[in-house]
Amino acid sequence: MRHGKYPFIIGFLVVPLALYLVFVVGAYVQMFQLSLTDWSGYGGFTYIGLENFQKLWDDPVFWIALRHNVYLLIAMPIITIAMALFFAFLLNSGGRKAGGVWGSKVYRVIFFFPQLLALAIVAVIFGRVFGSDKSGMINGLLPESWTPWLFLADEQWALTCILVVLVWQAVGFYVVLFSAGMGSIAEEIYEAAALDGATKVTLFFKITLPLLWDTLQVAWVYLGIAAFDAFALVNIMSVNHGGPDNSTQVLSMQIYLNAFQNSQAGYASALGVVLFFLTLTFAALTLRVTRRDAVQA
């Protein structure tokens, strides 16, 4: 009955598996090997033991970048989820009894659109929105008499500008996502609770939020991945690839700069190895905390 099963299985798996093994698995395996070398990115290399890791530990820029990543990793998901929940709630149950807030469909379409733009394009747009003279959109809107804000050129605010752009792009997607989740909650539950005299706010915290929990967890993971990278934004928007004075430096930028600008591909690989274990630890912790659904979701 199972005639020709194995040739078929092998035939269907060999090409995708080969591509995946060469370009993805191969890259990660080589990362471990290269982290122990002085490879410049071109030509040969010699093994130098753990020297790269020693250097990494002593590198202040690595710690700055790591701190910024942790900051984005916490701030971006929290702000995005809070805003998306707020808007989704307004769109769905805010005026639901009256048939949905006026224009809710239009809002959903507009909010979602940035998700379709490449982050690199968004970065170019906001690089100009935050322009530090009158040609920038925000400074152009400010009254004549004000001194233009520096935004990306200001160490204090540059990273916040990047955070704003990350949030700006992401919110709409999660509005739609949470709307879908809210839409699948049975109306009867709300009606029963409303009859008991529950207010809109109570409804939100006692019914919507708990029933939306699974979707929120998925959102958290997705946003974590998005916030962890941010390469396109920093590379395009920031002054001097992570500046001014490393105030927007992130780990993806560090890997890129070391690999392709400083000809220290071995060192960049060591950075990758450290991140590999950090990510693994983080993933294990997340799975442990949210075990119930995250694994099966």
């Binding site: 598996l17 659109f113 100009r128 839409g183 991140l275």
Partner: protein
């Protein structure tokens, strides 16, 4: 997933009797104001870009971002298209994404089908190997990836970029489609087997048509993801003569950095508009499918 969206719209459009909620709604005022403000914050920068694309440098520096341009001339667009090579980059993007999405879908669904519906030693191991790629961001292994592409002689070639796109898209595609193929009923499949249909025939003539909705969702996901890719092309398409093979994101990012020196702002804004407009058109037509397709993976 797709049916979720359907369910949702069913709930929204169901006519509701106007009941007690008529009386108040201070929340409605707040709702309208905040929703409107966010819509403005979303659309504002995009409208500004389109307006600025018609202005000359003096007008841009006047500091009236939403003032209408003095005249609507399409010269900046012609410049962006040909002199700044946006046309070339656009076509490169279309070509690379078309080929690699097709490749991803074919290879991804083949692998997912076998992993989902056949028992064989190593099945779980291979599945987890694919899925583990989801946990690690692409940028981590950039340097070795560059080395691999280089040693294969594929640096700065469309072939290299396409193969890398496919390889890095397989994780999510396989993950999503394995779950999807598992939900499809076994009866039809088995009936076809009894009728003497071979493995290949069952895959192409029975499973693929049955899996249509899932395949469409993940195709949209891959098209959007690969169209928006920036990191991978920046790493692979570099070196002498690479700029004729750049994709759109790379090309525009480059105009943006060099515009800092030449101050050709209007060309940059025209280039941005040219990259935004097709998305608006496609989105206007396929809005529902796109929203459902992109959110499908998250609300399984």
């Amino acid at each position: 997933m797709t049916n979720l969206a359907v369910k949702q719209s069913a709930v929204v459009t169901k006519p509701k009797p106007a009941d007690r909620s008529r009386k108040i709604n201070p929340l409605n005022g707040v709702a309208h104001v905040s929703l409107f403000l966010w819509a403005l914050a979303t659309a504002g920068p995009l409208i500004w870009v389109v307006l600025a694309s018609f202005k000359n440098n003096t007008e841009i520096f006047l500091g009236k971002p939403f003032a209408l341009p003095e005249s609507f001339s399409f010269k900046t667009y012609a410049d962006a298209w040909s002199e700044a090579h946006i046309g070339q980059y656009f076509l490169n993007s279309v070509f690379v994404v078309a080929v690699s999405t097709a490749g991803t879908m074919l290879l991804g669904s083949m692998a997912a089908y076998v992993l989902a519906r056949y028992k064989f030693p190593g099945n779980r191991a291979i599945y987890y190997l694919f899925v583990s790629g989801l946990a690690f961001p692409t940028f981590m292994a950039l340097a070795p990836l560059f080395g691999i592409v280089q040693s294969l002689g594929l640096l700065n070639t469309f072939t290299g970029l396409i193969l890398v796109y496919i390889a890095y898209s397989l994780s999510f595609t396989v993950f999503f489609l394995v779950a999807f193929f598992k939900t499809l009923p076994h009866e039809i499949d088995e009936a076809a087997l009894v009728d003497g249909a071979g493995h290949l025939r069952r895959f192409f003539q029975i499973m693929m048509p049955m899996a249509k909705s899932g395949l469409i969702s993940i195709t949209i996901f891959n098209i959007v993801g690969q169209w928006n890719q920036y990191l991978l092309p920046v790493v692979i398409m570099q070196g002498a003569g690479a700029d004729s093979k750049w994709v759109l994101t790379q090309g525009i990012a480059n105009i943006s950095t060099s515009a800092g020196y030449h101050a050709e702002w209007s060309t940059l804004f025209a280039a941005l508009t040219l990259s935004i407009l097709p998305m608006i058109v496609v989105y206007a037509i396929f809005q529902r499918q796109i929203q459902a397709g992109l959110t499908a993976g998250a609300v399984k």
